[in-house]
């Protein structure tokens, strides 16, 4: 199928048949300058108040941060981008497509980014800023290397684009990854796949009970951001909360923590009725399947908690949404060790030394966890993600001896 005949909606950049698969070295000045201007434009836009995730992206791609990343990048070898990178962005995280594009561009690739059919307003804002800058002569090189498109699911189009790509960045979970992986690609095409992931939170009761007002507020706001900004749909949002401490302290800590979160939720706009219904239905299901020792629905219904004595292997298959949590006590981390598998991505923590977790994983050869970060940073995507060092993976080495 000829590129010019593909029926796609062009959202920004060059049309598919105009794209040139020219490359740049990683962290080129052209790429950094373009992204820094996107950052500036977005952070000055009135929309950031309404869409903090746009602010998050803008803040991440500001020059100061990109320069820092460039400095830290391993320069043992001369590198260039791999060529043409084809991104399939997920439907669940509105600004994800922008990060994916940035990773591809910073690695030195030309990029075709297919956005999901879900028309997020954040995408419109970001694309408008990008398009305004891409039209300028100073960004002509980037324009010739960039195309943002949208098309309803069409395997023929995805096939055609797969066949011309040197790298594919596939977001969207196991089913999407498996379907797209089956399509023919160039022999040396590199696939970076973001499959279904699951995340947990580990909280120390003592730290929560003893936290001063300011620290506690930061904790609650951080947990809220990790979970509710994306309705618990992001793979990094925790679905399971593990507690550490003695029985009484855990009891007090749970009271303080969940009540604090409920109070914060009360200040936010109410959730749609269907979410409440979903959570209640899920509560009934889990009661049958898992025999919990306790179930709890917060006063407003925003938070559902299911307490388990034991954690069954495969607990991640029972994940809920919109504020549905499993809870258990795990002082020796035995339960965590038992359930960890390759699906587990992020562990957010409060009140403990994260090295304990790193050592647990490494010393016991555990097959899960790519990130151990403080509560509040679950959604902080960057160039090392899901266990991939993206700039390295998406660029190629020119080895000279």
């Amino acid at each position: 199928m000829k590129l010019a005949s593909l029926s796609v909606e062009l959202l920004a950049g060059s049309s598919l048949h105009e794209i040139e698969a020219q490359t740049l070295p990683p962290y080129s000045e052209e790429a950094i300058r373009f992204l820094a201007e996107v950052s500036s434009r977005l952070l000055k836009s009135p929309n950031i108040r309404e869409y903090p995730d746009i602010a998050g992206f803008g803040y991440w791609c500001r020059r100061a941060n990109l320069s820092k990343l460039a400095l830290a990048f391993d320069k043992n070898y001369a590198r260039l981008g791999r060529g043409l990178a084809f991104h399939i962005a997920p439907a669940n995280v509105p600004v994800n497509f922008a990060f994916s594009f940035a990773f591809g561009l910073l690695a030195g690739n030309a990029n075709i980014v297919r956005l999901s059919s879900t028309n997020h307003p954040q995408a419109t804002v970001i694309l408008r800023a990008m398009q305004e800058l891409l039209e300028l002569e100073k960004h002509a090189r980037i324009r010739h290397m960039t195309s943002f498109v949208r098309y309803p699911r069409d395997d023929k189009i995805t096939n055609t684009l797969s066949e011309i790509s040197d790298a594919r960045i596939i977001w969207g979970g196991d089913a999407t990854v498996n379907r797209i992986r089956m399509m023919k690609t160039k022999a040396r095409c590199v696939d970076v796949c973001f499959a279904d992931r699951y995340s947990v939170s580990l909280l120390r009761a003592d730290a929560i009970c003893d936290a001063g007002a300011e620290s506690f507020t930061r904790l609650i706001v951080g947990f809220y951001n990790d979970v509710f900004l994306l309705d618990q749909n992001a793979c990094s949002s925790p679905h399971l909360v593990l507690w550490q401490g003695d029985k009484e302290r855990i009891c007090s800590a749970k009271y303080r923590f969940w009540r604090g979160l409920e109070e914060l939720l009360d200040t936010k706009s109410p959730e749609p009725g269907i979410h409440s219904l979903d959570k209640f239905t899920h509560l009934c299901r889990t009661a049958i399947w898992l025999q919990p020792i306790n179930q709890n629905r917060s006063q407003s219904g925003r938070i559902y908690r299911v307490e388990l004595e034991q954690l069954p292997v495969g607990i991640e298959n029972f994940r809920g949404q919109h504020g549905f949590f499993f809870e258990t006590t795990d002082n020796d981390l035995q339960k965590l060790s038992t359930i960890l598998n390759t699906r587990y991505q992020t562990l957010t923590y409060y009140g403990l030394d994260p090295q304990i977790i790193t050592r647990l994983v490494v010393d016991n050869d555990l097959q899960g966890l790519d990130r151990v970060v403080p509560v509040g940073m679950a959604l902080d995507i960057s160039i090392v993600w899901d266990g991939y060092d993206l700039i390295t993976t998406l660029s190629r080495v020119i080895q000279t001896v």
């Binding site: 952070l43 000055k44 108040r49 903090p52 020059r63 100061a64």
Partner: protein
């Protein structure tokens, strides 16, 4: 523009606030200076002064006045 004018402009543009309100201005004093506004202010200062702020300084940057002290560390003399 003097450094002071550049500094003030970052605040005025980010928060849509008048010059008279700047002297006593602190984080969370006004709705515009929330965590999102803070990110925008830090980015504006970095861009305008061509510096890279350390994460600790970004967290500590809690007021218009104290910010001037922080910028001293980056050899930016605002007064």
């Amino acid at each position: 523009m003097s450094n002071l004018e550049i500094y003030q402009q970052a605040f005025k543009e980010t928060f849509m606030v008048d010059e008279e309100k700047l002297a006593d201005l602190k984080y969370q004093d006004i709705p515009e200076w929330d965590s999102v506004g803070h990110m925008a202010l830090m980015a504006a200062l970095e861009e305008n002064f061509q510096i890279e702020l350390d994460i600790d300084d970004i967290i500590e940057f809690s007021s218009y006045e104290y910010g001037k002290e922080i910028l001293q560390k980056y050899k930016v003399d605002v007064d």
